[in-house]
Symmetry: C2
Subunit: 264 residues, 2 copies
DNA sequence: ATATCCGTTCGGTATTGCCGAACAGCGTTC
DNA sequence: GAACGCTGTTCGGCAATACCGAACGGATAT
């Protein structure tokens, strides 16, 4: 019943599934029986695995009626992973500056073969909070960071990425045709930053700009997120330049340089 | 070589050791042979485990000469765990406010049987950055958050915690005698907030205050961290009141109430 | 008071994860 | 230039061990 080709350790895979299950569960915690049913294993086997995860702090157990919750070790590992990531270490102060200047939520995404993976975030001081998960591959064509990354790829690569994600629609503003995306990319290349005008979620507006390593390769993008009604057209242009400036600053601090535009 | 009594899953335990090993390693990444040597297992077994961890995103592999690094999933899990934690969700905006007002690094710790476990942090805008690990049990008697928590325990509990941590010394200012700690606790109970005057690290000054649940039980403490030379005595008192005010605000938003002072 | 659910414990079985040796690809060294 | 040492990788065989299912004890609800 295996689906992955190369050598794997079954019990470890099952344990990691448990972690994801508990973390995705409610804040109340999951009891043993529920966990066992969800993964389709015997209670005794699941119990042994859960105990191991608790011993290592990945999960914690709350009495009474033992329920399992995410443990402190997950926070510790996430923090350590972020601290050890050179990109995050350099980007975080820049994100904070941009957040303070703009009053918006700022995020930074890594370029994962054309797809954006957001790896850090600084929330704005506003009352509106967006929950924006970190560490997951997002759709490239409906986010400003994703489009800013796409605009730095060659046309062939864009075509490949577009096929891979299928240009699925998220809202009525989403770009779903390759021709539309092509036009949008042209616009981004001209002004230097990308926008997301309610293309991923109703009422949400984003502006993003790419940053580069010392080969001129696009490492990722930063983006600012706000509610649509808060922004006028002039503000968008102003914000775009502000985001672009900070992205360039990030490039500089990474000892990178902006890529020359590649020909078709 | 086992130390834990109850049922555990060996391969999972070994896998989790690998994660910690890689995360604690350098930013360059660890090659297979190094990992295998460190955990004392065969290359083939370690390889299979590493592959499983990579498949789940806990680790990622960088070419050439396959080296293993912390993966995006760790950031994702840490972020999710934080988002699902009601305390962090409520505390984060308050930490941000306090950081902006004070210009310092603000942290929040959970009370783990008298020991502080810092679970979230908002860095100040200053140039000086402190790396303060999250999710680990810290010493209670050399941190302001720890002492703020201690001051809310009964004298018997304080004695127990003091014995457990041994009142080890970290700097020449560290409190190492129970009599000294007793006196310090009295002072904290009078003014309502705790300080750490270079007791954990040279040149570092902290101020902390506790917060409570609706039973009046101390849930944890928040603390502000800065460099010693930046602060005069009057500023310390002013800062203490500011931190205390935000801790009280946190208590309020958690629908808690401050505990009545317990008798001896 | 009874019944049903939960978490836990305990052996038996065979699955499966571990080991060690052999292979292959590089970089270095002589 | 060739041979050596170091990597990471694959493959079979043994036995450790992780799984299962049933039985126990406790709590809650009916």
């Amino acid at each position: 019943m295996a689906e992955t080709a190369p050598t794997q350790v079954g019990s470890v895979a099952r344990a990691l599934e448990l972690v994801e299950l508990v973390v995705s569960g409610s804040t109340e915690g999951m009891p043993l029986s529920e966990v066992a049913k969800a993964v389709g294993g015997s209670k005794s086997a699941v119990l042994a695995t859960l105990r191991t995860l608790v011993d290592f702090g990945y999960l914690r157990v709350v009495e009474p009626g033992p329920k399992y919750l995410p443990g402190m070790m997950l926070i510790r590992l996430g923090d350590l992973a972020a601290a050890h990531d050179p990109l995050i270490a350099v980007a975080r102060p820049i994100l904070a500056q941009l957040s303070e200047k703009s009053g918006l939520t700022i995020r930074v995404a890594r370029n994962d073969h054309g797809f954006p993976i957001f790896i850090d975030r600084v929330d704005g001081p506003g009352f509106v909070r967006f929950y924006t998960p970190l560490g997951v591959r997002e759709l490239p064509h409906v986010s400003s960071a994703g489009k800013a990354i796409l605009a730095e790829l060659s046309d062939d690569e864009i075509k490949l990425v577009a096929k891979e994600c299928g240009l699925v629609s998220r809202t009525k503003n989403s770009i779903t045709s390759f021709a539309g995306l092509r036009k949008e990319i042209e616009r981004i290349r001209e002004v230097g930053f990308a926008t997301d005008d309610e293309e991923d979620a109703q009422g949400i507006f984003c502006v993003g700009a790419a940053f580069f390593d010392h080969f001129g390769k696009c490492l990722g993008a930063i983006s600012a997120t706000g509610v649509k009604t808060d922004l006028t057209d002039e503000q968008v242009t102003k914000l775009g330049k502000l985001v672009l400036k900070h992205a360039d600053q990030l490039t500089k601090e990474l000892h990178g340089r902006k890529s020359v535009r590649r020909e078709k």
